[in-house]
């Protein structure tokens, strides 16, 4: 994408501008809180206290963050390759089917540390498969990946309803979900880490998936900035023409990027399914795939930024639950608004404040914003 804007110093680009965008999103959200007739400052205090005030809150925050790290990484990998994978929701949902089949088959015979790798493979595989078809259609038949991945979200939802209601539901049960897994498919909790710091925790679902998420964040960083494949992906993302000229196969790079993206989206299902609910239920993803879009945008598609943004959204989810309890007028749907505003201001309107900040910087030191260089080129 060509940016007609002059350069800013890196700290402003990756620190200041996202921070301003985020603040604007929260200020607008504050107005919505006022419209509902509550005090936005009190709401913010309750939100932060609910998320970080007690050990249980922290554990819940990190539990939610785990899912968002996966979905954020999924979106980011595709973005680096110039693709917009809006299908994380469906890829994660369908991955639940793979995890469910593995867990139901092995939970009585294998211990968790053998079931878990199998489930990871199943989740990543199903997610990748669900991303592979849109990727193939984009690469070979030129159909727009945004539209096909949206369609695949709906197809995934239909497949899952069919699978859960007509196939996997145990006989005699009314709820559209699988039977509960045996301990062989239950992931160990990580709450003891927080308890090391002296906090008390009453049953929070934070589990080993959190560590897996951090490992994946590191691996994504390695892939994007330290491998040939990652370089090719970024090249294609910046300029498909240049990539073609450099002899990078368009089909191959799109397929690989989307498969990785889909696999990451699939892995986000591990956290709620094996770490918390211990069954596959209808709608267990509940929007986490879409949160990934906000997380990736806010984290500027960098794994470190994504982990931070995921924790912020984990905080919103956990604190939002507390908020709904304290202020009945504000339900958890407030988070959906904040999410939308973050996507709007950090994503679609990311350049809105740029010219002003540039002017500000230019008035301090023209060199910092590269005014001379731009003039020299006659741009």
């Amino acid at each position: 994408m060509s940016t007609p804007y002059a350069k800013l110093p890196a700290w402003a680009d990756y620190g200041l501008i996202p921070l301003i965008n985020l603040s604007v999103a929260f200020i607008v959200a504050g107005f919505v809180v006022m419209l509902v007739g509550e005090n936005p400052f009190r709401a913010a205090v309750i939100l932060v206290e609910g998320a970080f005030g007690r050990g249980t809150g922290i554990a819940f925050t990190l539990y939610y963050a785990t899912t968002f790290i996966f979905s954020g990484l999924s979106v980011a990998v595709a973005v680096h390759c110039g693709l917009f994978n809006i299908g994380g929701e469906g890829q994660g949902y369908i991955a639940g089917l793979g995890i469910g089949v593995v867990c139901l088959a092995f939970d009585s015979v294998l211990p968790w540390w053998l079931t878990f790798p199998l489930a990871i493979i199943a989740a990543a595989g199903m997610g990748a498969l669900w991303a592979l078809i849109p990727a193939y259609l984009q690469a070979r038949r030129g159909s727009h990946i945004v539209i096909t991945t949206i369609m695949f979200n709906f197809i995934a939802a239909s497949v899952m309803v069919y699978a859960l209601v007509d196939v996997l539901k145990p006989a005699g049960s009314m709820a559209p979900q699988t039977r509960n897994f045996l301990p062989g498919a239950e992931l160990p909790k990580l709450n003891w880490i927080i308890e090391l710091f002296g906090a008390k925790i009453r049953s929070a679902p934070l589990n080993v998936c959190f560590i897996l998420a951090l490992v994946m964040a590191f691996l994504v960083w390695l892939l994007i900035w330290r491998t040939k494949l990652g370089y090719e992906m970024r090249t294609y993302g910046h300029s498909p023409k240049a990539a073609r000229y450099a002899g990078i196969s368009e089909t191959r790079i799109i397929l690989i990027a989307m498969v990785i993206s889909g696999a990451l989206a699939g892995m986000m299902a591990l956290n709620p399914v094996m770490g918390d609910q211990h069954n596959v239920a209808l709608d267990f993803v509940s929007g986490a795939g879409f949160v990934g879009i906000a997380v990736a945008l806010m984290g500027r598609s960098h794994p470190v930024g994504i982990v931070l943004a995921a924790i912020l959204f984990g905080m919103l989810y956990q604190g939002g639950a507390e908020l709904a309890f304290e202020m009945p007028a504000i339900s958890r749907d407030m988070i959906v608004i904040i999410q939308g505003l973050v996507i709007l201001f950090a994503g679609a309107l990311e350049h809105m404040f740029r010219p002003y900040i540039q002017a500000l910087f230019a008035s301090f030191s023209p060199k910092a914003v590269g005014i001379e260089a731009v003039k020299g080129k006659g741009a």
């Binding site: 919505v32 078809i133 159909s143 709906f154 309803v161 608004i337 505003l341 709007l344 309107l349 809105m352």
Partner: protein
């Protein structure tokens, strides 16, 4: 005669179910023909539905409700325009954002204002749009064949249904027979050429988005004030995306759009009708299969197996004036 009546009933519900799709689909047609991708049809319909039902029940007037639905929906369309035209943001990201803000704010404001779990109060007669019974519909009901068709299919819908179908030829006329339509199509294919001719690309695209907002507003009003007697949270339930699918299916043409929406509405009506009843030859078809069919068909079409869907060439690309 029984099976004939069943067919008429299915076709009747086909019309009812395809109207919101048709309005949203035509709405998408305006913006996409002008080169602005609009994933946010869903969200705009949802705010339209909420604003319509809320205003109708507060002011006790269906038409104030409709006006409010259009106003709010256009406002959301302008946010999309502000982000994607003025600030050249990513159009898909902006559309996604609008869907989230719409989904969240309708529930929060609905709960805060009406305290009914995100619903608006049930609309009274006079606050919603009633069915219009055509002259002689009741008298002709018993005439074989033509009677049921006239009294069920043609007569007995609300004004918004006729509006939706009237919008099909109107949109065709605007698109292919007016100067505005010609320029709009040009700006979706080659904005630089339009700019060279001295016409403002941004203003044209904003006007196209206003049309989009009006139509999604009416679509939303139809959902909450005709199909349902009030707003229920998330009542669009993916219709905006099906409309998008229909738009692609129709290859961005108004008359095709009508047939695509009728087809998708028919599939929906059929899946409701056939719930649990076995079909000849294939046996019992899972409901989910019928529900997924519009999406599957769209993917197959996009893959180029049923003709080729070629989107407007400048779609999704923000226009940057050369300097």
């Amino acid at each position: 005669m029984d099976s004939f009546n069943a067919v008429v009933q299915v076709l009747d519900s086909t019309i009812r179910l395809s109207v919101p799709l048709l309005l949203a689909c035509l709405a998408g047609l305006y913006s996409e023909r002008a080169g602005i991708f609009d994933i946010g049809l869903e969200g705009k319909m949802l705010v339209g539905a909420f604003a319509g039902a809320a205003a109708a029940s507060v002011f006790h007037s269906g038409f104030i409700g409709l006006g409010m639905a259009i106003l709010i929906s256009v406002a959301f369309a302008m946010v999309h325009g502000f982000a994607s035209i003025t600030h050249r943001g990513n159009q898909i990201v902006s559309g996604v954002a609008i869907n989230f803000v719409a989904a969240g704010s309708t529930i929060i404001l609905g709960q805060a204002w009406f305290q009914q779990g995100g619903r608006t109060p049930a609309l009274q007669p006079g606050e919603r749009f009633e069915a219009i019974v055509w002259p002689g519909a009741d008298a002709l009901r018993d005439v074989p064949l033509l009677g049921p068709i006239y009294s069920e299919l043609i007569s007995g819908h609300s004004i918004l249904v006729y509006f939706a179908f009237a919008m099909v030829p109107f949109t065709w006329w605007v698109l292919f027979r007016t100067r505005f339509g010609l320029r709009m199509r040009a700006v979706g294919e080659n904005p630089a050429a339009v700019d060279t001719a001295g016409i403002s690309v941004a203003w044209l695209r904003y006007r196209a988005l206003i049309c989009t907002g009006i139509l999604t507003g009416v679509a939303g009003a139809y959902l909450s004030m005709v199909q349902n007697g009030g707003f229920v949270k998330d009542m669009t339930a993916g219709k905006g995306y099906i409309a998008l699918a229909a738009l692609i299916f129709a290859k961005w043409r108004p008359v095709n759009a009508m047939f695509a929406c009728l087809l998708f509405g028919f599939l929906d009506a059929l899946s409701i009708r056939l719930q649990g009843t076995p079909l000849p030859i294939v046996g019992k078809v899972p409901v989910q299969f019928m529900q997924a069919l519009p999406y599957v068909l769209t993917v197959i079409l996009l893959a180029g197996f049923i003709g080729k869907a070629i989107p407007p060439r400048a779609g999704g690309v923000p226009y940057v004036k050369e300097r």
